[in-house]
Symmetry: C2
Subunit: 344 residues, 2 copies
């Protein structure tokens, strides 16, 4: 194995001392990068995801062009429903749609579960190829969607502001919901383990719609499955959990097998440290909309953010994915500001 030249991310996750915080950005591969947009004009979304050479090229773009301290494989959380035999359509600029939604026991029973993770060989191939191309420059991050978030899409059939149908399904047919969540969890664990074998140095689990749940419902429908995943994968690689919107769960999750927790901007760094008893590496939490402000202002805010989190046990990142309208120079300024950080 090639020795990593920049292992800041992995050291931060192990709570080892670092010279400065590592920095990467959720959704850093894609959308706002001109070279990505060129590829998008030639290949549709799932061609880009399923062709290891393309996925690798896209994954590497922000390493070279923005200077982040980690690569995250270009893929999508909805490859899991696909692997389970569910059709997923992606219309450019419109978000995903799943024509066949989960409604009944028969729908759940019809899902492919045995060896479903083997349907995602293209992800493992992309990871291996990316790992080779990175040649030890920075660590490689694998990822999956959290079971609750995947259920949201499988029941709702498309994005939603309120996830009413997904919640109605959970609240009226809780046994079915738990069956579905467990099936997703089982496949996700195998999927993440295979990602690590293929080259991922760490994995992140995105619970993008966790915040649609009340604290009690998060404990019922989200948390147990996040904990199962962290427990099962922790010996393979460090796990980062990102429960967007679920600030109320941070204390519980800080006691889990995860090595890091992603934080959105709905709480300030000091509060995040308090809620987690300063016991776990935190990642976040810059409001992506702030990347649209002038560069000196971005740099000022980054400094404030690091002042708040501290330089240790910390990974600088956004509080959610970078938006397509961010100028590349502004993304670079964000990364530079972390690298230039000096406390006073």
């Amino acid at each position: 194995m090639t020795q990593l030249k920049n292992d800041l991310l992995l050291r931060a996750l192990k709570k080892e001392k670092v010279e400065r915080p590592p920095v990467w950005m959720m959704r850093q591969a894609g959308r706002y990068l001109p070279d990505y947009i060129k590829l998008r004009e030639k290949y549709d979304f799932f061609t880009r995801v399923q062709t290891p050479e393309l996925a690798t090229e896209i994954t590497l773009q922000p390493i070279d062009q923005v200077g982040v301290d980690a690569a995250i494989i270009f893929s999508d959380i909805l490859v899991i429903p696909q692997a389970m035999g569910v059709e997923v359509l992606m219309e450019e600029g419109k978000g995903p749609s799943l024509p066949k939604t989960m409604k009944s026991q028969a729908d759940i029973d019809a899902l492919v579960t045995a060896d479903a993770e083997n349907n995602l060989q293209y992800v493992y191939d992309a990871l291996s190829l990316t790992k080779k191309e990175l040649n030890g420059r920075v660590p490689l991050i694998g990822f999956a969607g959290a079971p609750w978030t995947i259920l949201c899409y499988m029941v709702e059939g498309k994005g939603s502001k309120t996830w009413d149908k997904a919640k109605q399904f959970a609240y009226t047919q809780p046994e079915l919901a738990h069956q579905l969540l467990q099936k997703i969890t089982d496949i996700t664990i195998k999927y993440l383990k295979k990602q690590v074998k293929a080259g991922a140095d760490t994995v992140q689990v995105f619970d993008s719609w966790a915040g649609s749940l009340s604290p009690a419902d998060f404990k019922t429908y989200a948390q147990p499955y996040l904990l199962q995943i962290a427990d099962a994968v922790k010996d393979d690689a460090p796990v980062i959990l990102f429960p967007k919107g679920s600030w109320y769960a941070l204390n519980d999750l800080s006691k889990s097998s995860a090595s890091g927790i992603g934080i959105d901007w709905s709480l300030n760094p000091q509060t995040a440290r308090e809620l987690t008893n300063n016991s776990i590496t935190l990642q976040g939490n810059f409001d992506p909309a702030k990347l649209l402000a002038p560069i000196p202002q971005i740099k000022h805010w980054v400094k404030e953010m690091i002042d708040g989190f501290g330089t240790q046990n910390y990974i600088a990142n956004l509080g959610h994915g970078i938006t397509p309208n961010v100028p590349v120079d502004h993304a670079k300024a964000f990364v530079e500001a972390v690298k230039e950080y000096r406390s006073e």
Copy 2:
């Protein structure tokens, strides 16, 4: 003035002892009610809002049909931009759109501000007529959108998941944002005072998109204007502030001139009481998606909610507006469960 036969809501807001908590539901007038849907087929949205007889009829429907302890005037938060001379279109089922968005100093300067509240006479007429028709059965609630939420629509031009453009406007042109927020605030104060004169017994300020802001940005762009409104209106009528998603602001707001704070379901009742030092009347926080569950389950959850908040200094409500797909019987069951509540 007619004596109120049911003044539970007003007593709860004054922190006086009540026999049981009052109950009403955000968006209780409209959407899910068959009689409303019939009116919707005959009159377009702004005709319903701007015709006092129709607005009154719609406002009264849930009093008779669902049994809530308060009426909230049927209107829309976007009447304020309209009063300022901004066109607002409402396409049924699609949400609002504002073709001319705020971008520059010239846009802000062009807004109508002098006596703009007088352009909303139809709201005052609807309140007076409703007050008369209610004949003291229950209190009448007036309302307005919070300045930050109104700015969101005026800058973005339509609904958004992330409010990027609104935030970009605030972060890149803060002086303009504050000018706009102040103009909205000034008109909103006069508007709410006139609502009280016309018959509103209390007023609620909806900051539906407060949660898109970080704690620091909420303190910059939302909180000062909410406080101005509460300070200016408190001697006219009790003010309820509803900063959806901004749990981090609850402590500050509990020390404001407001008489009540609306809570969404992202925090449990006990946490809400702790964050507000048990010092203010709280309102909420049932997940509207739970109204889609079976009735016995709804009643069980309502009991849990009231157990959590306690029966005093509390107004039972949803954590956001009722959704169109809720069966009327389920809305009724919610209200009945509050009325039947007995602690054990």
